[in-house]
Symmetry: C2
Subunit: 490 residues, 2 copies
């Protein structure tokens, strides 16, 4: 417990909050539910952005930018869409302030907008209104566009990174000539997200489809990746929606096919957000602080010199300069912390807190012996190794750490995924050993809703390529053909 | 005149608008004054961002993210700041919509905010409120933070990229222990902007300080870079502000110095925006379309095959594959346009319109002769060159084009910068030969204001390291020690 982080076994929720704040990732702002992402937190988000952006471009997408504001009338055009978002919209009603003559700044009532503007909670409506102008024939399709942006969904109960009124995200919006092509795009982007989650975030995910209750407002199908946090709660880490022709119909976007026929355009949208930061933190960290997978760590290796005299430091510095150069040549980021204002023990605790995957400590005796001390953040193990061959050793170790963090999370998930056939057992497990529960469900929204009300557990997804087996619904006893994934969720 | 762009000599303003739209850079949205940045336009902005972001990081800055919304009371704390921005603020007053029972979506009056929120027009207030929590002692200084964000300043008269209600920008906000350090930071960032403008945008700029009339609301000193567009109007391309202790005082941000004394913190802020896109377009383009400097062109080289039979295309393709690989290895971006739906002439016009710096055309005869045809966008000259040594030749040509575009803009500026000592002549030049006018000014805001009212020309800046010379104010005849830079401006 460094710098006053509470143990996660004692109070998981407080542990998370402490960690986010003490590790300099983010803090609350005075604006209700809006957060400030601090430089260290933002540097992780920048890495996430860079990796995803390359993946999007490698799959043929381009970035663009659409307005922050959406006219209220647009927003209302797709019925289920507005139902889904109306209750959490920030609304701009005026465009000017004025001085009231007594020194107070007030809203100028003469500057009331004719039509209110909604701060985008998501951009389907403004984008499909735009696509109407971009699409005439099949030659204009597909449109493969992504946007990196801020969005606002007014939240009453907020948590840093997990649920904030403003958050940062990307939203892909694509337009296609056929349903098949749109479904293929939806599935492709789910694969991109799953690949990113497992191989960069080191978070294993279940890929699946949402039930109709949990679908995106306006989608025909919502695909998702679901991850399990260390407290046994699920976190939806990304979604990819097949929107059918709903938005094309709402905004009258038609195209002429090769055969000369007119039809509405098929759509997808897909997004991940700064919520991924929450997943990253909650999946791996411990009571000493963050544990970052090397693939996303802003600092992969930190070097701390241990010395008494300036001469010793000079010696160490000369060696570290060479080492850093070699590491950087391999694309490994390294920080040499030669501050003389802090003791090594303080620095050790700081980099533990900040989740730096590998620490190299070098003292005068090490310099004499041609060794260094390596400390892994993930296992908290130390070893003394030869300076000869160190760069290759570090490179291998970072790969090993990345793999180990993933394996640990996967093992945790496996140990906390249970098949259950009895409703009382289902409820007991949720309270006593929370995790993923695989249970039969009769397929009706009513049953799903009742289970949610009685247990606070929701169907996270119907896993893709789900095993088919006969069974009875855990609540109603009605027949079922497959188990679905239940959990309490963030 | 391709694709219906009007000639810039005929109607410069219409030419600009046509160009932005026909070259697929941006378009207006249905939201008053907000634009949609299309994929091709955004890809240029991404290059601008990448270069600047690296420059900011190389000078020690980190990125962070602050809320979109600013409580009205914060906004009012710095008096001149609120005066400067109050008249152009989008104001959020409600956080929910509802159905009125008759099928209409209306603002829910029960969800009125206690305190209105301003959509940030700039972030000094919310950031300095945050810095209060980050700064206790000199050890916490300097803070060198930048933010990439969208901002909103309600505009009645808008122009794509140049003046839009929402725009994208970066805003640096730094905190320092001494005035000297803050001034040095302000000047450093001006240099960064000038370097970027001249060596990437290929736009020569005059570095200077604003007069008090034109200063940023809340600054002690505003430094700027001023560029001259092809119609002889000036465009402010970036600003860097020395804010003194104004915001520290407004938000009570004090620090304890090394000597144990308490003092207010010193501040700077600096920003450039999507307005740079406007500068880029207006400084270099012609009646055939965009002219992009190679350093910022999303596609630097386009290859167009000219063929009749598939076999010819296969031959050409095999060669182009090798060429592309070699170009990419040198970091040169290349596009092979092998669409069979469009004729070469159509493609030539399209890439001219989109400003691709270099076009390579290859026909069957070229393949036999071991040659290609190169066409430069900047000079519109063509040459037939050997395939042997082509990659090196292209690399050199791109450098030459970058240099030539800059030199051309510099020559234009020199030819359109005039020393003038007579007010009638001053007015005549503004109408007949608009450009930069170097004229004496008596140093008073009143004179500046009168000149502005009478001529629509403003003092763009007092150039740095300005030559000192005795003279008489062009309006009042009062004594003056230096000429200042006048122009009509965007």
């Amino acid at each position: 417990m460094s710098k006053g982080i509470i143990s996660k076994d004692e109070d998981y929720s407080q542990w998370f909050n402490d960690l986010v704040i003490k590790a300099d990732l983010a803090e609350y702002s005075p604006v209700r539910g809006c957060m400030i992402i601090k430089p260290y937190g933002y540097s992780i988000w920048e890495k996430i952005q860079a990796v995803l952006d390359k993946m999007f471009k490698d799959t043929g997408h381009s970035n663009a930018y659409f307005p922050l504001f959406i006219p209220k009338s647009f927003f209302s055009k797709e019925a289920s869409h507005v139902d889904g978002f109306a209750k959490e919209c920030a609304v701009v009603t005026h465009y000017r302030l004025k001085n009231d003559g007594e020194g107070n700044i007030i809203v100028d009532e003469d500057a009331k907008l004719e039509e209110e503007l909604i701060v985008r909670p998501t951009s389907e409506t403004i984008i499909w209104n735009t696509y109407k102008g971009w699409i005439q024939s099949y030659r204009d399709l597909p449109i493969l566009v992504n946007q990196w942006a801020n969005v606002v969904r007014w939240e009453m109960r907020t948590r840093l990174f997990l649920r904030t009124s403003e958050f940062l995200w990307q939203e892909g919006h694509t337009a296609h000539a056929t349903a098949e092509e749109a479904v293929a795009e939806t599935e492709q982007m789910l694969e991109v997200y799953a690949n990113f989650a497992e191989n960069w975030l080191a978070v294993p995910v279940v890929k699946g489809k949402k039930t109709s209750n949990e679908r995106f407002a306006g989608a025909l199908d919502t695909y998702c990746i679901e991850a399990l946090m260390q407290d046994g709660k699920a976190l939806q880490a990304g979604t990819s929606h097949f929107l059918g022709q709903n938005f094309a119909k709402a905004f009258d976007v038609k195209f002429t096919s090769k055969e000369g026929k007119q039809d509405y355009v098929w759509a997808t949208s897909w997004g991940v957000s700064t919520r991924l930061m929450g997943a990253l933190i909650m999946a791996h960290s411990d009571d000493a602080g963050l544990v970052l997978p090397p693939m996303l760590a802003p600092i992969q290796v930190v070097v701390v010199p241990i010395y008494k005299h300036d001469e010793e430091l000079q010696n160490i510095t000369a060696y570290v300069d060479g080492l850093s150069k070699e590491l950087k040549a391999k694309g490994i980021s390294v920080k040499f912390d030669n501050r003389d204002t802090q003791r090594p023990g303080f620095k050790f605790a700081e980099y533990e807190l900040k989740g730096v995957p590998l620490r190299v400590a070098i003292g005068s005796r090490d310099m004499q012996n041609g060794t260094v001390e390596l400390a892994r953040r993930d296992t908290k193990t130390k070893e003394t190794v030869q300076q000869a061959g160190l760069v290759d050793h570090i490179e291998k170790l970072l790969e090993e750490i990345q793999q180990n963090i993933f394996t640990k999370a996967l093992t945790f998930r496996e140990e906390n995924t249970t098949k259950v056939d009895d409703y009382e057992e289902f409820k007991r497990l949720l309270d006593e050993k929370p995790g993923f529960l695989l249970a039969h469900w009769d397929g009706t929204p009513e049953t799903e809703q009742r289970i949610k009300e009685e247990t606070k557990a929701t169907i996270r997804c119907i896993p893709l390529n789900n095993e088919q087996e006969e069974g009875k619904c855990i609540l109603t006893g009605n027949p079922s053909t497959q188990r679905v994934l239940f959990a309490r969720a963030y």
